[in-house]
């Protein structure tokens, strides 16, 4: 007897439908109980778990590999807020409305770029980035597979397309209301008829069918006032610096003062219950102020790449605040009697110097965070300082060189 075996595995996991189901019922970011943007709180509520677990997972995968911060940013962009029609990304492409401003959406999208870079070039290497991303996605997959019906499903947005887990009915079959957690059964729908006249139902004390609607609190002006003050402060300080040439008033100082204004708004907002939207600008501006304070050039040495190929005259220094410096000394005419001196400094970026093969080199390479390759030696991670003296026979001159990067790579090689 010939037996035909159907090898299709019906009981297996259909990844496509699982992903579609996840997207259709994806979490919403709640307004209550959030720490920053409500991504962790939303996931916790969606799957009925403590948001602290989600937060711990995000922090751990941020430190180990960097996937946590990327997933948080993506969640912030793609998960709609509680009462919004659509997520920030959907709103950007015109599919619904979101309460998040377009400026913040663009800023978050831009922040995804360094977050992705961090994922591949993280402190623990490439595999830690892959592992942390896999751990987070795997955790989310398991949560959705095992706990999709335990929490509060996210209400459909403009693009969610409805649930994929609803039971299907044959044409003409009678649907029952035995199990329909997602309200997929048309028989259970009780939709408002848009053509029906609006009636106000008066309720009495005995009528317990009245739905409690919490009145929306008056919007605090702290956020708007503080943001306006911060922008005006920044503008006033920049004009003051340009007009009077106040050398003390550096970019880190200006950012620090603006961070102080924003922080003051947060402190006041904590008491008058407003200004929570100032948290992100305060963190960004404050972090920029702290980073630039530690940068050797303090953000005052310009932006963009600097490429120099001197032949006769060597500048005392080649500096950039943000960008790469590439100094090629292979065509420089060295004086055999007088050593040539220069320095290269980059706050954030790569510093690369190519020295001729026929000069003596006395070089000091330093970096706060990054990889350093200084002629024959190399080192990476943080607070690196390497000193090399490399003399060659029949040298045509001597070069005394200092190369520094605040955050970035340093490379000094023979040409």
């Amino acid at each position: 007897m010939l037996v035909t075996v159907n090898t299709t595995k019906h009981s297996g996991i259909n990844i496509e439908s699982l992903v579609a189901d996840f997207w259709a019922t994806r979490p919403r970011r709640p307004r209550q109980g959030r720490m920053v943007a409500g991504v962790a709180a939303g996931i916790g509520r969606r799957y009925g778990i403590d948001p602290v677990i989600v937060r711990v997972a995000l922090v751990v995968t941020t430190v180990y590999g960097g996937a946590g911060v990327l997933l948080y940013l993506l969640g912030w962009l793609t998960l709609a807020e509680e009462n919004d029609e659509a997520s920030a990304v959907e709103a950007m492409i015109g599919q619904g409305r979101s309460s998040m401003s377009r400026g913040l959406t663009i800023l978050l999208a831009l922040l995804c770029i360094p977050a992705v870079t961090w994922l591949w070039n993280g402190q623990f290497g490439f595999f830690s980035g892959v592992l942390s991303a896999a751990a987070l996605l795997g955790g989310l997959f398991l949560l959705h597979r095992n706990r999709a019906d335990l929490g509060v499903p996210g209400a459909p947005t403009m693009t969610s397309g409805g649930s994929m887990t609803a039971p299907s009915y044959a044409p003409g079959a009678t649907a029952t209301a035995e199990w329909d957690p997602l309200g997929a059964s048309p028989l259970l729908w009780d939709l408002h008829d848009p053509n029906a006249p609006v009636t106000q139902v008066a309720t009495t004390d005995d009528d317990d069918t009245t739905v409690m609607v919490r009145p929306r609190g008056r919007r605090s002006a702290v956020g708007g006032v503080t943001m306006g003050l911060a922008v005006l402060t920044a503008a006033a300080l920049l004009i003051f610096k340009a007009a009077l040439g106040a050398s003390w008033l550096s970019l880190p100082h200006i950012l620090g003062i603006v961070a102080g204004v924003l922080a003051g708004g947060l402190v006041v907002g904590a008491f008058v219950r407003g200004g929570r939207g100032l948290i992100v600008p305060t963190v960004l501006v404050g972090a920029a102020a702290v980073v630039l304070t530690n940068a050797p050039n303090g953000g005052a040495a310009g932006f963009g790449d600097l490429r120099a190929n001197p032949t006769d005259t060597l500048a005392a220094s080649y500096n950039r605040s943000f960008g790469d410096v590439r100094l090629d000394l292979t065509n420089f005419k060295f004086d055999k009697e007088k050593p040539a001196r220069t320095s290269v400094s980059v706050d954030a970026g790569e510093a690369r110097v190519i020295v001729p093969a026929n000069v003596n080199v006395d070089v000091t390479c330093t970096a706060d965070v990054g990889d350093v390759r200084c002629l024959n030696t190399s080192q990476n991670w943080r607070d690196i300082s390497l000193h090399q003296v490399d003399n060659v026979p029949n040298a045509v001159g001597t070069l005394q060189l200092e190369v520094h990067a605040g955050a970035g790579d340093v490379e000094v090689v023979r040409g």
């Binding site: 950012l255 102080g260 947060l266 402190v267 907002g269 904590a270 008491f271 102020a289 702290v290 630039l292």
Partner: protein, 72 residues
């Protein structure tokens, strides 16, 4: 325990502690930038800065607690 305490405080209408913490962090960032990264060299030092911040927050909480609308 801490989370429930925070939630209780906020439910009662007290200050938003997360917002307050970020605000204090921002004030420290300002102090760090304006002292060119050497807060320890300030005349009052880091300890004095923390003490000043604690006095400021303490006064704000005190004023918030005894404000006239809270006693009605």
């Amino acid at each position: 325990m801490w989370r429930s305490s925070v939630a209780d405080l906020e439910r009662r209408g007290g200050p938003r502690l997360v917002t307050l913490l970020f605000g204090i962090g921002g004030l420290f960032a300002m102090a760090y930038a304006l002292s060119d990264g050497s807060m320890a060299d300030l005349p009052f030092g880091v300890t004095g800065l923390v003490a000043g911040g604690a006095i400021l927050v303490g006064l704000l909480i005190l004023m918030w607690t005894v404000r006239p609308s809270a006693r009605k």
